[in-house]
Assembly symmetry: D2
């Protein structure tokens, strides 16, 4: 193509934003024209991220809708909760395409959002307009749209692990338990004692037990797939590593199925989708096997003793769980191959 | 006391053995009189473990029942599966007290052992004689005995997290799921690609899904507590850290109970037991909070949305999950205070 | 003994303070009677450090000299720079023994302190009174004193590695280079981006190059030992681990010596000192081999090609580099065996 | 271009080999036509490296010169010492281009090789033919050649840190000390206790003190640059992280120079070279800032107190220190832009 799509990134100084920069710098159809930060406007982005020295020499722009309109065609929002609520409607009204990585437009119900996020929900009109961009499940709805709500990291790993079964009716929706573990980068660059090195190194812990705001997001998508309301148990843990999410999911089958049938169901469901890989019998993915990449790898084990199915699903939380899926959504929006600019190999070891 | 109990440690060059050395060196009533290794006999133990330089200058003894009898009153076995099967009967016949840290005498059924361990089971007569030393649950049976089978690391964390409820009949025994995570030292000092640094650093994975040999050990104890056969789902994961186990346990209640009632049940069950600490409402333990110590810390969360209880239980796998509980069992056998030589503070940070 | 010495700890909520708590709880002659914090007074210390639950149930006291005098015989100061400058004189005037873990009284010259610390120096009268408690080198001066300035973590590792040679005149004092590496706990519990987990995990870096405030402290002690002014090169690095310091030290010999002679010099210098261990030829210590303990282990290598000597010295920065040496100083002050309460084995693995 | 260059990789199952796969899969001008392993021939490479599932589905070929000739134009050797000694001459005689990542052809003197590597040296005729491919220093010699000896990881970091000064004669060649620290992946995938997770996690150590085989490689290049024989002190350490090398280098200046002059010298020396980045005054690079990339970042500090210069140089040992520089050498050999296929951003965090 002759002209590249011009992209702006709001929240460029967070981990999601800086990963978008890494990915978009390698995207053949996109040019980064504005990196934006409310806190550090005016400073070169490489001041806070020296790995970008001589790679991206831009200074950070302030958050200014007019300026964004003059510089960009599409805007990525990698911002804390509450920012997109206000900003996305303005960007859309200005005629921009918006891909929102925050949680502000993921829940269709404002009440549910308020209960779990403890923030005022977004305008219902724009909530309705947002397309939930879980690419391998709802990707068809993304094509040609201008406002995408990018799924959360935990929901991406957990939903890709459950979607084929949730859509069949083979499982008891009351039985779903997801025990999820995340690398520390999921907590972002904001300082807190929880992710102070000496506290979380050589440590493993559960947090927000039965209270994590990604719970209703997973339930909303599962309910839609199952055609009935799903309420589930969801637990989050911190792992002393930077990147990676592994979700171990437990479900009871409504009636007996073989593990081979279930694996075949998964393979058919994800046929033709480059970024989901189903492991063979007896093999389970490790987070490192998708590190730095946009893959989601899934393993399955049916226990004949209990009749319960265990699903192991892994992603890189910063790529497939955030910036990578956002670029994948951009590809789908624009009608490009979904792997454009994302077809790199995981970094190993 | 004037005379110290003389202790021998078989398997001194493994992580369990070397931790027994650390603990027994600090025990006021015990003297280490023989450190034993089948592979490195003759060499100073500090050759393989330089941290013991000038602390324990002994050379390793070979495995020789007569020699052990001449040097020791009690023998700890920190050996791979299959060694104790042969050795413990001989040591007992020689009049020695035996505390077996391996899995060889934990399962009462030889058939179940063979199914999960893929080894020939021990002599039934000695199997019957072995007391399962889960101190806070079955500790009364340990007093005055001469042959203790020390619980596994995962079972210790999981069973201490479940025992109070398993004994009440409040929970549905078919609903039990334990999602357990362990530091890498649990895999021992034997070399393997799985625990090669560059493979498991910055990595998280599930292993032996629905196949871990600790499953029947947990089920056996739960069945005994519940008075009915319990079959459960048990998953093990590796965490990129050296020490620590966290078991996240999910159970369905048979009938509604308040979280306060359940917490009170736990506090009463463990009353007077120094090494189990129940957290207050909304607080969950981290593995680092018991690091290097014999504590087991437990947090509880009842989810009103699903009626399901989540239990978080943590231990140091090398201490409470192995050497520490073995010393605690020694204390109980000998009629000493169970905390003798174990009353040290977790190392933090 | 019938009555225990009563100890207060100012700065109990920092890592140095909380390690003092761990060590003093195990000390046979000492009782902790006050844990003090300027920021969290009134709260139970276990609120911020749950590993202390049911072990130390005290609430934090405010910093109040009268209160300290009523509760304690000896005061440990584990405070940021500048606090001890003001507080220690008052505590001494109140008749208390003081062991200061901060840097405020380590440099005899107020000007040098001001240059490197960018703080106002302490009163010269009290500066003169402070004894620099590098136990194995200047320990004789500690006996019977009431005011000890506890050495810094880097200086302890580096000086114990250099002291025998510095005192001989065998080395060229202009040639000394110490390349030191520290675990992250040395940076304390205060939040900063430098020690944010996702920044320093899987990372290694140099910091404060040619600017670290421990430089003049090392030079002052070396100058005293050498009997001439020593100016040296000192570099500090952060290692992605919690505890441990390794200092690699390079010196040129004035005239040829054999490595065996040098090793023998070290062994004689440290004869009878439990906490310094000299490795045999070809062996070098790892930080993990002293982890959690008060040992300093030293290895030596003389390169015949260059005539340069390389010294490798390791400590646990929180123990021998802070709280452990402080307790050792207390033991020396009180005329107790220097290893009292400190004779525990490193935690391995 | 219409036809891609066909590449074979011998030693595909080591970390260097698998990183070559990652890089060459993204190279626009190259096609991987054979992945070769002496130990696992016949098996799919993804069996041992599941991150390659559905990305590289090839089976491993045996080492067979005829087969290689039929499938490839260029051969990368990522093999243990001693393999290339035998294999490279055969491959060259078969008309293939060879890039050798092992140490077999780096030292021009067979005697020096034998002294440090304890292996029989290669045929002098082929030794003479090998071009030492330190791209930013000797890259001009690589153009159009068919046999490149790729520099070692430590030498790359250290030499790029020293080359500008070594070529000027500003420094005393007797004063050079390089204190280098490496992530664990440098030790390869072969199992050993040294890099067993529980041993090296939360640990830092020096190894092969004054004995590392990269010493003469650095000296050879420095001697060539300086025009006189250089003998230096070189120490290697292991850091508990997977990737990254940091070399802290100390040199004495022959006569006074300002830090600004030295920095300017470095900037001019590396002008136009994309992969070397010189930091501004007071800034020092961290290994994470080049993680996963082909960059070498360098910081400088001249200490006015000692007149000594400290240089901090960082690389990713698997990329710039092995596979990345090998691809860069391929680019130079072929006359392509040296950054072809390598212009990706470091992965952060």
């Amino acid at each position: 193509m002759t002209t590249k799509l011009r992209a702006a990134i709001v929240g460029s100084t967070g981990y999601g934003g800086v990963e978008l920069i890494r990915l978009l710098l390698a995207h053949p159809n996109v040019e980064i024209t504005s990196v934006i930060s409310s806190s550090s406007a005016g400073a070169p982005i490489a001041d806070g991220y020296p790995h970008l020295n001589q790679i991206l020499t831009d200074r950070l722009d302030a958050v200014d809708v007019e300026l964004i309109r003059s510089k960009a065609d599409v805007v990525f929002l990698a911002t804390p909760h509450g920012v997109s609520t206000e900003l996305s409607p303005k960007l859309l009204d200005a005629g921009l395409k918006v891909i929102d990585i925050s949680g502000d437009f993921r829940l269709q119900s404002g009440d549910v959002y308020e209960t779990w996020y403890k923030h005022k929900p977004a305008d219902p009109e724009y909530l309705k307009r947002a397309v939930y961009g879980l690419c391998e499940v709802f990707g068809e709805e993304v094509r040609g749209k201008d406002f995408i709500s990018n799924p959360g990291c935990y929901p991406t790993a957990t939903l890709l692990g459950l979607a084929p079964l949730a859509a069949t009716g083979w499982i008891d929706p009351k039985s779903i338990i997801a025990d999820a573990k995340s690398g520390v980068s999921g907590a972002g660059r904001g300082l807190s004692l929880l992710v102070h090195y000496s506290e979380i190194n050589e440590n493993f812990l559960a947090y927000k037990v039965n209270k994590h705001q990604h719970t209703p997001e997973i339930e909303q998508a599962l309910s839609r797939l199952a055609g009935e309301e799903v309420v589930m148990t969801f637990t989050t843990h911190l792992v002393p590593m930077t990147r990676g999410i592994l979700s171990t999911i437990y479900v009871n089958l409504k009636s007996p199925r073989s593990e081979d049938d279930i694996r075949e169901l998964y393979r058919q469901y994800y046929e033709g989708r480059k970024f989901v890989r189903i492991r063979d019998k007896g093999k389970y993915p490790a987070t490192k096997e998708v590190w730095g990449s946009n893959y989601c790898d899934i393993g399955l084990s049916l226990d004949s003793r209990t009749g319960r199915l265990t699903i192991v699903s892994v992603i890189d939380n910063v790529v497939k769980g955030a910036a990578g899926q956002a670029v994948q959504n951009l590809n789908l929006m624009m009608g490009w191959d979904e792997a454009t600019g994302l077809a790199f190999t995981p970094v190993y070891p």
